[in-house]
């Protein structure tokens, strides 16, 4: 476990270097973009701003400054708004986190039971139908689904709840987030359903299930109390990984629904070459992904005593 923890740290350090270098490879920086829109370029003025932002220093020095700042919880200032990056990111993170949580809730709510039904009714029309639905869930771009939902709601109700001000109560919040969460969660629920199905089928073929059947246990007891328990293990992994990877889908969904979360903010910051925002945000995503992987491994060990980690 200690070794895994250090590997995790190593991954994060490597990620910080890669993202830092990649960002500096981008054609043009914030100053170019500012001057582009202004329409003229005065090299002296450009150099002054670059110096102010520290962009004239060697890349290794810039990297050192960033990491040194990170260790003191100083994320730097956004180039665009000139506000501290912490203040820019802080209010946006809960929005994305709530969306992701709701999407994950939807996907587990539908994914797991439908996956179990699909496995228990293997090779029936119900199974085929559910499999086609889940496969189309994996085939649809989430932003297209989001657009279709938007169009449908506008056609049916004339309008949809739009994010104007931060929602005041839980009900408003739920109303506001449930459509985007459904759009992005459909894919995850399809993934969870497929995995639940195959994991369930895997377990149903095992000897102890046959033993349970031959002892006269009812079909329901076998399926739900014997098989499901073990089939659920790999599903927890995918749920954990999906939780971390939902941010990928949310980038687009937040853009379509115009929700001011961090995922949409990442795209804006990339387009504006707002280095402090992008590098800190990417590190946050990486931190979440590696932490979730670590936690999933831990729960795996706790849920299944057969799995032990050698150190």
């Amino acid at each position: 476990m200690v070794k895994r923890f250090f590997l995790m740290l190593l991954t994060l350090i490597g990620m910080s270097i890669i993202i830092f270098v990649l960002l500096r490879l981008m054609p043009g920086n914030i100053v170019d973009i500012m001057f582009d829109s202004a329409g003229f370029v005065d090299p002296a003025e450009k150099a002054i701003i670059e110096k102010e932002l520290g962009l004239d220093q060697p890349i290794a020095v810039q990297y050192g400054q960033w990491i040194w700042g990170l260790m003191q919880w100083d994320l730097g200032f956004s180039y665009v708004s000139e506000m501290p990056a912490v203040d820019e990111l802080g209010p946006r993170i809960p929005i994305t986190a709530k969306l992701a949580a709701l999407a994950l809730f939807f996907s587990v709510l539908f994914g797991v039971p439908l996956g179990v039904i699909s496995a228990v009714k293997q090779d029936t029309w119900l199974d085929y139908g559910l499999r086609v639905i889940s496969l189309s869930g994996l085939s649809m771009p989430s932003f297209w689904l989001a657009l279709l939902i938007l169009m449908f709601c506008v056609a049916q109700f004339g309008s949809i709840p739009i994010y104007l001000d931060p929602p005041e109560n839980l009900w408003d919040e739920l109303l506001l987030y449930s459509l985007p969460a459904a759009a992005v969660g459909f894919r995850s629920s399809a993934l969870i359903m497929r995995l639940t199905r195959s994991s369930m089928l895997e377990v149903l073929r095992q000897d102890y299930i046959r033993t349970a059947r031959s002892k006269g246990a009812s079909e329901n007891t076998v399926n739900y109390s014997h098989a499901l328990k073990n089939a659920f293990l790999p599903v927890t992994t995918i749920i954990g990984i999906e939780a971390a990877f939902l941010i990928g889908g949310l980038i687009i969904t937040e853009t379509v629904f115009n929700i001011p979360g961090v995922a949409h903010f990442l795209v804006e910051a990339i387009l504006m070459r707002d280095y402090p925002i992008v590098q800190n945000l990417v590190m946050l995503v990486a931190l979440i992904v590696v932490t979730v992987n670590f936690l999933v491994d831990l729960t795996y060990g706790a849920l299944d005593p057969r799995i032990k980690y050698a150190d």
Binding site: L7, M15, L22, P27, R197, F245, I247
Partner: protein
């Protein structure tokens, strides 16, 4: 008690296959969905190859008079704000989409195979280093990594392909490495080595071909995800630039303003993306069943 119908079981296992034709029939009967998937993929591939002959209009030329025309006999899928024929744009879009998907999967696959094979075969410091690099690459969602890559490379067709291929590398490398690890202990590999074959030749002639089955399954799945990532990047304005017609960009150009007045601008490009990815997914599922029988249900 279950009665076993031996003839039926033999037929199911394909024991009575004696010609190529009956092999195809056997395949069709047991994998009807795969056949459907192949049909979808073939339609799109043909559309991409013969776009000039299929599209009745030029995908780029604009016609002010036809702006936002709904589907008509002339423009069967309608036309966009600039009066460009949607059917032509979708057909040519298939070309861009498939070029990006196939090349990025191939490129990512080749790099991944190389890293995975070397890792699993050489072990030692190379393997250690590569494992850490793969860990790093897998610490970001596919789209986030592709997004940053695409932005730092700048928008062009080639750069989009590169940006999508790199995030695919770790998955391929993982699969190839793990099969190489088990293969290198196999007696036939040892025999080849004992017969005096060079390490490189053993790796390429004996180990690589045996990793092909999982590789093909993975590549088919990657094809669909590459198409989706390309569409997403282009939707965000970081993918394939003008004048190439890209499905993802068609959606972003049209979506916000015209969704209400011209829903066909949103429906058809998205339908094209979903259909072709659905086809590759059906195919991928069937290939996994056939090539990797341990996972068959």
């Amino acid at each position: 008690m279950v009665d076993i119908d031996h003839n039926a079981e033999l037929a199911r296992a394909g024991a009575n296959i004696d010609s190529r034709w009956s092999a195809i029939l056997h395949f069709a009967r047991h994998y009807p969905l795969a056949l459907f998937g192949i049909a979808i993929v073939i339609v799109f591939v043909l559309a991409a190859i013969f776009a000039e002959f299929i599209a009745t209009h030029d995908p780029i030329s604009t016609h002010a008079a036809l702006s936002l025309s709904p589907p008509t006999a002339n423009n069967i899928l309608g036309s966009d704000m600039m009066g460009r024929d949607m059917f032509a744009r979708i057909v040519y879009g298939a070309r861009i989409s498939l070029i990006v998907a196939v090349s990025s999967t191939l490129l990512g696959g080749i790099i991944g195979v190389f890293i995975g094979l070397m890792s699993g075969y050489l072990l030692g410091w190379f393997d250690l280093l590569m494992q850490r690099v793969i860990d790093i690459m897998q610490a970001l969602p596919l789209l986030v990594l592709a997004l940053v890559m695409a932005a730092s490379l700048g928008p062009s067709l080639e750069n989009t392909i590169l940006a999508i291929s790199i995030p695919l590398v770790p998955r391929v490398a993982r699969v190839v490495r793990s099969s190489t690890l088990s293969l290198r202990e196999m007696p036939f590999v040892e025999a080849a080595r004992a017969a005096g074959m060079s390490e490189l030749r053993v790796a390429i002639r004996h180990v690589l071909p045996n990793t092909l089955a999982p590789l093909i399954v993975l590549a088919t799945a990657q094809l669909g995800s590459a198409i989706l990532v390309e569409a997403s990047l282009s939707f965000l304005g970081l993918g394939v630039p003008e004048p190439h017609p890209s499905w993802g960009r068609m959606l972003s150009e049209n979506a916000a303003e015209y969704a209400r007045v011209a829903p066909w601008l949103v429906i058809f490009p998205g339908l094209a993306i979903s259909l072709v990815v659905f086809g590759t997914n059906l195919l991928g599922d069937a290939l996994r069943d056939i090539l990797d029988p341990r996972q068959r249900h």
